[in-house]
């Protein structure tokens, strides 16, 4: 892997200092993280940064960006990221979202289609599965959630998402859960209106899903595929909720050519 320079920066949005990782050169790619503290500049960020200018902000309340008290639904987070794009002077982006970030990405692309050139949804929250259930992370102890979310616990996953339950780890997880409860306690991890407005999405969309995702069942990915006309679904085998960390090679092979078709 080439040594693309990356850094951690801060941008003011609505009076809040937003933490983000950035690195690489090329078309701007906004990467929105999932139900995690956005723990690191990951190998997949590094790989993407060889093709794109990657921006990976931390959601407010998830750790490095402070909680924003008025934000109580995912559409607030969408509005916040629209504001962030303005503050950063980004007029049109490639957009990739994982989990909760996938929900925000879809919502953002629906709200302002002209801002999004291409969209990647990775094991995205936001829709109620037509069958099966979204795993209730609020009822389970943290180690059980960890175990449920991954099918192939790679060393990188272990280091950043699966560290043993130290008090610090537990507190970081608690912080994520509080932020999530503020945004999506009920309905839990979906917006009933989303399937109805997804057809508004016109940009080419790639949906990547781990077949073994026990948080957000593949049925959610299939529903996204069904409701977005210009979309394609890639299912990764032996993969849980973290395709970009569990199967980075397969993930990049699907995502990079999609994001740079020429």
């Amino acid at each position: 892997m080439s040594a693309v320079a990356w850094s951690e920066e801060t941008v003011q949005v609505a009076g809040t200092p937003v933490h983000y990782y950035c690195g690489g050169e090329g078309p701007p790619l906004l990467v929105l993280h999932g139900l995690d503290p956005n723990p690191a500049w990951l190998a997949c960020h590094q790989a993407l940064a060889t093709h794109f200018r990657v921006y990976a902000p931390t959601h407010p309340g998830f750790g490095r960006t402070p909680l924003v008290p008025w934000m109580r639904r995912v559409s607030d987070l969408t509005l916040f990221y629209l504001w962030l794009l303005e503050e950063m002077g980004l007029e049109r982006v490639l957009l990739l979202g994982h989990g909760l970030g996938g929900w925000v990405a879809a919502d953002l692309a629906i709200t302002c289609p002209h801002l999004v050139e291409r969209l990647v949804l990775v094991d995205a929250a936001g829709v109620k599965p037509p069958h099966g259930e979204i795993l209730d992370v609020f009822l389970l102890p943290w180690p059980e959630v960890q175990a449920a979310l991954v099918a192939t616990p790679t060393p990188e996953w272990q280091r950043h998402f699966g560290a043993t339950s130290t008090p610090e780890e537990e507190e970081r997880w608690e912080t994520v859960l509080v932020a999530l409860a503020r945004l999506s306690w009920k309905p839990y991890l979906y917006d009933p209106r989303l399937p109805h407005v997804l057809p508004r999405l016109r940009c080419p969309t790639l949906i990547v899903w781990g077949r073994e995702d026990r948080l957000l069942p593949l049925a959610c990915g299939e529903l996204y595929r069904e409701r977005i006309a210009a979309s394609r679904l890639v299912v990764l085998e032996a993969c849980g909720h973290y395709p970009h960390v569990e199967q980075p090679q397969a993930f990049l092979e699907a995502v990079v050519p999609f994001l740079r078709p020429n």
């Binding site: 609020f138 009822l139 509080v178 306690w185 009920k186």
Partner: protein, 379 residues
């Protein structure tokens, strides 16, 4: 000193081995282990015990509410309150307490409590609680809003009781076009308000600021003193005079004709100390439910008495005054010690648990009423 009887209306009628198979007896323990026919008999049995308490001279009858648990069948305490309002004549009815944050309509709650006050001819003491995490989960109320909803529901109920309607309420969590219930409380300006505390310093300070009676629920004595001190500071700052009447303490108690019998019956309290409090942290303190200060106090609560309640033996629970058991003389001595240590004006006698029989419960109530209460009333 005023004395109140309390029973949690337990349903300990399932095989214990079945209960042990589940992560907790609360929230997710399957309700197929509940037999409504058995519950019918239990409800009436417990209500008979309450009536007997009034006969034995207890100043009040305390009831509470929990959800999804065999430890407490009262899923809505105001129903039991209504029965007591009709079937008793003298005793105070202590609701300790209605779980404010899980109510989406606090005006309706204000009406229910006002009805109880009118029905009972002004005998209601209205306790308000935040509820343990399980109540939030059982009712799917967002735990991150628990404290805010508690405080706003309280403000709205107080205004409903004390401000002539109609008025409009546009709050953060509650919104009403017209607040103007026909039923308002009989007691003026409103029924006394009590607040229990188990670990939260914020709740102690909040109760102090309002001058409400604050009751330690099975808290270690040293921690109870600390919480009382937090209360006292907040109350004094708010200009409230603080007397013993501002403080209460709840403990498990069994009075018997012999020490041996008392020890035998006191074992029934072990079920509530251990098995019914077992469960994942996610059940008891879901995300955002507790502040950092509350979490620290709760952790100290676990270490304060040396061990969590669940890990204390019957002997340790008695040494730490969570359970007081013995002949009338023994019980009197211990209660005098607690009263002098804490400076309380209200004692809640938690007098039945688990599979303690009706006969054994009545005998303890009788001995307490006839041989302990007279001395205690003079304190």
């Amino acid at each position: 000193m005023q004395v109140y009887f309390f029973s949690e209306f337990p349903y300990h009628e399932y095989p214990d081995a079945e209960g042990d198979k589940y992560p907790s007896l609360r929230l997710t323990f399957p309700n197929r282990f509940y037999d409504p026919q058995k519950a019918h008999h239990l409800f009436h049995r417990y209500l008979d015990e309450y009536l007997y308490c009034e006969e034995m001279g207890f100043d009040g009858l305390m009831i509470n509410e929990h959800h999804n648990t065999p430890s407490c069948m009262n899923a809505t305490m105001n129903l039991i309150g209504a029965i007591l309002a009709r079937t008793t004549r003298r005793a105070k009815i202590l609701l300790l307490g209605n779980i404010l944050p899980i109510w989406d309509n606090p005006v309706r709650l204000a009406e229910e409590i006002a009805m109880l006050d009118v029905l009972s001819n002004g005998r209601i003491i209205s306790g308000f609680v935040r509820g343990i995490g399980i109540e939030s989960l059982a009712t799917n109320t967002n735990p991150v809003d628990n404290r805010e909803r508690f405080e706003e529901a309280h403000d709205l109920i107080l205004k409903t009781w004390t401000t002539p309607g109609p008025f409009r309420w546009e709050g953060r969590h509650y919104h009403f076009r017209v607040v103007n219930p026909w039923i308002v409380p009989l007691q003026k300006p409103h029924p006394p308000i009590w607040v229990p505390g188990s670990a939260s310093p914020e709740t102690a300070a909040w109760a102090g600021r309002h001058g409400y009676t604050y009751v330690g629920f099975l808290t270690p004595l040293q921690m109870t003193k600390e919480l009382f001190a937090i209360y006292r500071t907040a109350a004094t700052e708010a200009g409230h005079a603080v007397t013993e009447a501002n403080f209460g303490y709840l403990l498990c108690c069994y009075v018997a004709d012999s020490e041996a019998k008392a020890q035998e019956e006191a074992r029934h309290f072990l079920w509530r100390m251990g098995p019914t409090l077992r469960g994942p942290k996610a059940y008891f303190a879901p995300p955002g439910y507790r502040s950092r200060a509350g979490t620290e106090m709760a952790a100290r609560r676990l270490s304060g008495g040396g061990k969590p309640l669940a890990q204390q033996s019957l002997e340790e629970l008695q040494a730490n005054y969570h359970i007081v058991a013995g002949t009338p003389d023994t019980v009197l001595k211990k209660l005098k010690f607690i009263k002098d240590e804490l400076g309380i004006g209200h004692l809640i006698f938690y007098g039945q648990e688990s599979r303690m029989s009706h006969e054994a419960t009545l005998r303890s109530i009788e001995l307490f009423g006839k041989e302990v209460m007279p001395a205690l009333k003079a304190w």
